[in-house]
Amino acid sequence: MAIIEGTATRPAVSPPTIKTDRMTRPRRPAWVEWVTTTDHKRIGILYLATAIAFFLVGGVEALMMRTQLSRPGNDVLTPEIYNQVLTMHGTTMVFLFLMPLWAGFANYFVPLQVGARDMAFPRMNALSYWLFLAGGVVFYATLFFSPPEAGWTAYTPLSTGPYIPGNGTDAWIFLIHLTGTSSILGAINITVTISNMRARGMGWGRVPLFCWSLVAQAIMILLTLPVVAAAVTMMLTDRHFGTCFFEPTCGGSAMLYQHLFWFFGHPEVYIMILPAFGAISEILPVFARKPIFGYKAIAASSVGIAFLSMLVWAHHMFATPMATAALAFFMLSSMLIAIPTGVKILNWVATLFHGSINASTPLYFAAGFLVLFTLGGITGVMLAIFPIDRQVHDTYFVVAHFHFVLVAGSVSAVMAALYYWFPKMTGRRLNETLGKWSFWLQFIGFLGTFLIQHSLGLSGMPRRIYTYGSDMGWGTDNLISTIGSYILGIGVVLTVINVLWTLSRRRAPRVGPDPWRGNTLEWLTPSPPPAHNFDVVPVVRSLEPMKDARRRVAELTERETETVSVR
């Protein structure tokens, strides 16, 4: 507790804590401790490490595709392998990277932020992690057999009929079941923890915004993941047991699958981005040294987005045969989502106004998030207008749009959250210089990769094609995109190097409990926190309990010095 970084906190002052004797347990080998752990912090780290490993694998798959597309008529990948790689990339990034990654941050920080000693159901929490890992293993085991190749959406009849040899699609179905169950259990755990285990004084109006976003996310997970689980189960029985849910040759409907899939699929986008919103809402006020602007509006818009997200699914199906009235409904509902999202963006920008901005790496990534996510949100409104969507649907314009939202949006927030919370998890700060290099390479690499893809889509390049003719005139743009993707890749690798290097420097200076001058309760406890999190759980008096604590300590210190000087 005595070591505190001079610059980030006021000197020689630390929040009051009471030392107690800790229970001693028999020592077991480290790996046994990790495998059998029910500590939310260790489970969080397991989640984060596994998800980042899958992120790197998914990134390599992305680079394989970009390499193949770098010039017309390229033959680095065969059509078969290209389809397998695009399926693995999409599925990995959605189910094995972004969802578990936010589950990791949620696991680690929800109990700390609400002042609890663990999650509500610690053993179920461990089960969630192992189910997720099992899903990933089942899915990647297909590398030794026949990987799925119907895309991460696995549209029927391509996925159910006799069109793809091998059983990769079955592995994909099991991945959805395993990771889906994992997410549902996790969502129950998070909701119960936030609802019932908050510190004294933390009413709903004082719950940190990261936790608010996770409540909204949990609602969506609980309502939509069972639907996709049902849909893929029907697909499984269509494939193997002679049912006809989606098979048009015997009376099924291929459209039904699309509806069921996107009823889950669109909220899924918000499942991946809402925690990012939450993290940004935590980071901006800390580095602007200013309270979040419009706490209630931000919390309410998260819930509003969660509600609306379940009414917009068919905007993924504007090109399918549907009644015009249905198209118009989904167009209007999709446009409505822009309002709560826009409100959030304006609140974030307003948070920076009149602040005193400390430009550390987490703020860089948060600012990058704001620029790029705004662009992705705006192209989202364009896509909601269905005559326009019919021109750009299933082209590189859409690919660019959702990478702006999920890579520039969610992954930037992941980076910001990683640089922000890393000191809490390890007691060491990541290197700032390396962090800023990583940021600029990712920012420029991202723009290079994806901005140009809007043009490719507008000039007619469909997504998911393994090659294109030189007479199409898409060669230059694709080459630019490929070069950008390698720069982006280097940027990501720099952060990974930063993490490994910081962890390997055993004698690196350690940070105190509160290196950033944070606002929320996780900064009260030592870094890394002890197994029981808090020696004494404080009473929460405002949205920013740490600010209160710092103020109180400052007052006490001042009084002391005054007394000393009088004597």
Binding site: Y163, N347, L458, T467
Partner: protein
């Protein structure tokens, strides 16, 4: 404003870079115009947000602003921008809905006199030529009125509203010729309709836009627009060639069957 001016100047040169493809059929042109309006509004919003963000990051850096103001919000301001965002969205929605009919509904104008004379359609408004489009791995089949059919390349007359009935016989495909309007999925068990009306003879190219298997990238499509009399002549020739091929098949069928039996 600057965005608008730049767009207006650059529009013809940058079609395909900034705007969707156009120049084949009126529905594609109208979609591109709608897109232009939305793009300009989107550009203004984006530039506004990024300018505000950039200014805040520069002006309120801790070097320039030592003490942060402790502001928690501003209810009137927040209600104000929520209403402004709502107004913008409502405008976009209403504007798009007014343009909808002209993009979605087939052009009902009478066909060109040449087309009527060639006997492709009857005179008067609301007449159209109907062509069936069938997607299959990995080729498009077109069925014309009167029994002629062709693969990959559709031949269509200029000056006539052509209605397409799109379906698939195996997996989901998507019919898309960018210059002739948006894409329409070909889904087995469903029939989907769209239309185009071409004035300029020429070849309009596109390709399948829904992942349909390993050769998805090679499932190309094109529409060759020709003057009406040439279209009629082509249909005749196609029919003759198809009939000849059918006759040859019937003639040789017995031989093939015996060969198969022997093999």
């Amino acid at each position: 404003m600057a965005v608008g001016v730049t767009l207006a100047v650059a529009a013809p040169a940058y079609a395909g870079t900034l705007l969707p493809e156009r120049g084949g059929s009126p529905n594609a042109d109208r979609t591109a115009s709608l897109y232009t309006v939305v793009l300009v509004l989107a550009g203004i919003v984006f530039v506004g947000v990024v300018a505000a963000l950039g200014y805040a990051l520069w002006r309120y850096h801790e070097r320039r602003n030592k003490v942060a103001a402790q502001i928690h919000g501003h209810t009137r301001l927040e209600i104000g921008w929520t209403l402004a965002a709502t107004a913008l969205i409502v405008f976009l929605a209403v504007f798009s809905l007014t343009k909808l009919a002209s993009i979605d509904d087939p052009d009902t104008a009478a066909a060109s006199p040449a087309a009527v004379q060639a006997g492709i359609v009857k005179p008067g408004e609301g007449q159209s030529l109907n062509i069936d489009v069938v997607g299959m791995q990995y080729v498009w089949l077109y069925r014309y009125p009167g029994g002629a059919y062709s693969y990959t390349e559709m031949v269509a007359p200029t000056g006539v509203t052509v209605k397409l009935n799109i379906t698939s016989q195996d997996v989901a495909h998507s019919w898309w010729i960018p210059k002739l309007g948006g894409k329409f999925d070909a889904i087995p068990g469903y029939t989907h309709q769209t239309w185009f009306r071409i004035t300029k003879p020429g070849v309009y190219r596109g390709q399948c836009a829904e992942l349909c298997g390993r050769n998805h990238a090679n499932m190309l499509a094109q529409v060759r627009a020709v003057p009406p009399d040439e279209y009629v002549a082509w249909i005749q020739r196609q029919k003759q060639q198809l009939a000849a091929a059918e006759a040859a098949r019937k003639r040789d069928a017995a031989k093939f069957e015996s060969q198969q039996g022997a093999g």
